[in-house]
């Protein structure tokens, strides 16, 4: 049966050299929500995203993305997904607008169609004035915004973002948050990984904390705080960071 949920992950298992990186991971995302995947380094966040895109084949479990079975129909699924990767991979040889044009071609879009979409994408990224600037001249924040705009070139139903604000200064982070909030308001479904608790608290309607390849807590940020980081003796409310540390331990990971 094809579900209306944009993403279903069931009992996912992935081993590398016999060592389980994903160990029975399950979660679903509802249409139009921003869902956060939190966890310490090495918890399995990036491996999960690789499985969702069909770039890694799980050893067990089931993945359904936008009604399509992954990895079997991964290529079809990717046509309707936008991805912001953890590491910058913009084309340094191209201008800002050319990056969007060339990327749109990978989706089989005609040059005329992409050109029609480019002004709105540049406006969204706040890069209209830099359309013909070389990508090399952009700041870190601008590059991230261009990468986000590039992920929207195919007008995706689902956006996948792997640590979208890692390495950015506070101003640049805020601009990305505004962009993501605008996309959720417009009805896009978003899956993001992060280890910034303030980012998750601000953007995500629901989130899951994963550790050692399985989900150890899941719910709305306020629920998780209520459950795992109760009000302190002085009456101050707890926060998501306390939840995270309470659940994943204080030991250094790597």
């Amino acid at each position: 049966m094809v579900s209306t949920l944009p993403l279903i992950v069931e009992r996912l298992v992935k081993r590398y050299d016999g060592r389980p990186v994903l160990d029975g991971l399950s979660f679903v995302i509802h249409r139009g929500e921003c869902f956060g995947l939190l966890g310490p380094n090495g918890a399995g966040k990036t491996t999960t995203l690789r499985c969702l895109l069909g770039h890694a084949v799980p050893d067990a479990g089931r993945i359904e993305v936008l009604g399509l079975c992954v990895p079997d129909e991964a290529r079809k699924a990717r046509a309707r997904i936008g991805v912001v990767p953890q590491f910058d991979n913009l084309d340094p040889d191209f201008t800002v607008a050319e990056n969007l044009l060339v990327y749109g071609r990978y989706f089989g879009l005609s040059d005329a169609e992409i050109s029609r979409r480019i002004p709105a994408l540049l406006e969204f990224a706040g890069l209209s004035a830099r359309a013909h600037a070389s990508t090399r001249t952009l700041s870190g924040g601008m590059k991230r915004r261009l990468t986000l705009a590039r992920a929207l070139v195919n007008d995706p139903e689902l956006l996948i973002l792997d640590e979208p604000t890692t390495g950015l200064d506070p101003q640049a982070r805020r601009l990305i948050w505004d962009n993501l909030a605008r996309l959720t308001r417009e009805g896009k479904t978003i899956l993001l990984t992060t280890h910034f608790m303030d980012e998750a608290e601000r953007l995500c309607q629901r989130l899951a904390i994963i550790d050692a390849g399985r989900i150890i807590a899941e719910g709305a940020p306020a629920e998780l705080i209520e459950r795992h980081a109760p009000r302190r003796e002085n009456g101050c409310p707890g926060n998501l960071e306390e939840v995270f540390l309470a659940l994943t331990g204080h030991a250094l990971r790597d």
């Binding site: 895109l53 990717r78 046509a79 590491f87 084309d91 990327y103």
Partner: protein, 253 residues
């Protein structure tokens, strides 16, 4: 393995970059073979008798077309493709679109062959301007040059898919490309070599490239033309399959 229109989008991307730097790139690809050709062809050629009925310069020039095509395809499939795969993470970006890894490897191979053909054909034009390619049938050398580019593009991509860093490519050139250039009939007929070396040379791809391209430029039908074509097609297909498998192991775990 899944090949689609996506491979043309990959080819187009590389072509787009090349067009921005076409002139310096073309000069870079041409300068080296032409310096050797004129230096050795005129300098050394003055002391040498004709080979197989043609002046040494013409003999060397036609061999240079094959060697320059090999070199251009190899550089593109090694250094440039490695930059896109590893350093710039361009492949990673493309894989997030509905393009398969097979499309990317095939697009890279097609592009390496295209860029190599531009070099090979440019030297062919120089030869024609000097009056050594007078038959209109010499245009048949163009598809042969493209096939040579495909074979060396696919072979180079094997090394790229395995390379830990750029340094690795030194081995490819010093252990494979350079010795091949000396034993496959580019500078002198391979028949001059000891029988054992000849036997090995006859199985090297550049040997077939030279055996195909040289007579075609002179307007002659190459001896055993079908065998040379089958050999180069087989190398292309087999090398592509290996390169794809290695790239898969490297990028999609």
């Amino acid at each position: 393995m899944e090949l689609t229109w996506g491979m043309l989008a990959v080819w187009r991307r590389n072509c787009f970059v090349w067009r921005k730097l076409a002139l310096p790139s073309l000069l870079g690809n041409l300068a080296d073979p032409l310096i050797y050709l004129f230096g050795l062809g005129y300098g050394l050629g003055a002391y040498l008798p004709p080979i197989a009925g043609v002046p040494y310069f013409a003999f060397l020039a036609t061999g240079t077309v094959a060697a320059a095509t090999m070199n251009a395809a190899s550089f593109e499939a090694l250094y440039s493709a490695f930059a896109r795969m590893q350093v710039q993470r361009t492949w990673e970006g493309i894989l997030n679109a509905p393009v398969s890894l097979a499309d990317i490897v095939a697009g890279e191979c097609l592009w390496a062959a295209t860029k190599a053909s531009i070099s090979g054909v440019a030297i062919l034009i120089v030869i024609a301007l000097l009056g050594y390619a007078q038959s209109p049938w010499a245009v048949l050398a163009v598809p042969a040059i493209f096939l040579v580019g495909l074979a060396f593009g696919a072979l180079g991509l094997i090394a790229t898919a395995r390379a830990p860093s750029y340094d690795f490519f030194m081995y490819y050139f010093t252990l494979f490309i350079t010795p091949m250039t000396l034993v496959c009939g580019v500078f002198f007929p391979a028949e001059r070599l000891p029988a054992a070396v000849q036997a090995v040379a006859a199985w090297l791809p550049l040997y077939h490239a030279v055996a195909l391209v040289r007579p075609l430029i002179f307007g002659q039908w190459p001896a055993e033309a079908v065998w040379h074509v089958i050999y180069l097609v087989a190398v292309t297909v087999a090398a592509f399959a290996v390169a794809y498998r290695l790239a898969r192991r490297r990028l999609l775990g």
